[in-house]
């Protein structure tokens, strides 16, 4: 399900709108994932506090969303652009790639909450496709 020119322009335009709140969105999406899908906590067992709004969740949510913002910038070559991150997730973090879909869902929930007017069905499908393509690129080096 490759990204069409329209998908890319919709994603870029929407990311322009949300970039000011990206840190907040990332923090909240991560917090929602850890709360609604408790099995994902296994990857963060080294944090003292896994509750939504905690310092490590806020910080790391910002890191993740920043990386996703960078991916928008390399949307024409996600596999190439995310190669180093794929190595990291594959060989060091060893995150089961099934979890990328779970985080993507929570990002969509958070975007819908913070940008209800902008998060139209057309934006929903474009962002869903983008996150799926990003997830595939992130999983590229796994085996």
């Amino acid at each position: 399900m490759s990204l069409t020119a329209k998908d890319k322009s919709v994603v870029k335009a929407f990311w322009g709108k949300i970039s000011g709140k990206a840190d907040v969105v990332g923090a909240e999406a991560l917090g929602r994932m850890l709360t609604a899908y408790p099995q994902t906590k296994t990857y963060f067992s080294h944090w003292a506090d896994l509750s939504p709004g905690s310092a490590p969740v806020k910080k790391h949510g910002g890191v993740i969303m920043g990386a996703i913002g960078n991916a928008v910038g390399v949307i024409d070559d996600l596999v190439g652009g995310l190669s180093a991150l794929s190595d990291l997730h594959a060989f060091e973090l060893r995150v089961d790639p099934g979890n990328f879909k779970i985080l993507s869902h929570n990002i969509l929930v958070t975007l819908a909450i913070h940008f209800p007017a902008d998060f139209t069905p057309e934006v929903h499908i474009a962002v869903d496709k983008f996150l799926a393509a990003l997830s595939a690129a992130l999983a590229d080096k796994y085996r």
């Binding site: 917090g31 929602r32 609604a36 899908y37 819908a112 909450i113 209800p116 057309e122 929903h124």
Partner: protein, 147 residues
Amino acid sequence: MVDWTDAEKSTISAVWGKVDINEVGPLALASVLVVYPWTQRYFGSFGDVSTAAAIMGNPKVAAHGKVVCGALDKAVKNMGNILATYKSLSETHANKLFVDPDNFRVLADVLTIVIAAKFGAAFTPEIQATWQKFMKVVVAAMGSRYF
């Protein structure tokens, strides 16, 4: 199937109590058809679903959205017994409608997103967690008669 705590039961009822089926049902089903276009295969008789605008404005889609959402009401009213409540609906979807059961999970996720958009920050992570647990049970019950 599931032993709900009192807190979970009241959270689920509270969320559902604030959902306007006539608004959320049509929006959720239309969104599924837009975001996952292959689901249109089940709605061949619904008329024009060629564009997002056509889908969002299609009266048959809207009417069916209300039917689907209305069926969720049964689960809310029979929380201790969702498996039995959905037995015949599951059989119908399996043996007559031939709906791929993965679509139940897709609809549940989209419905959650639509509800989140409506509720805003009031749809806290904890409320989302409980609501999604309820959705998971509903989805499992709908798939229960497929084999």
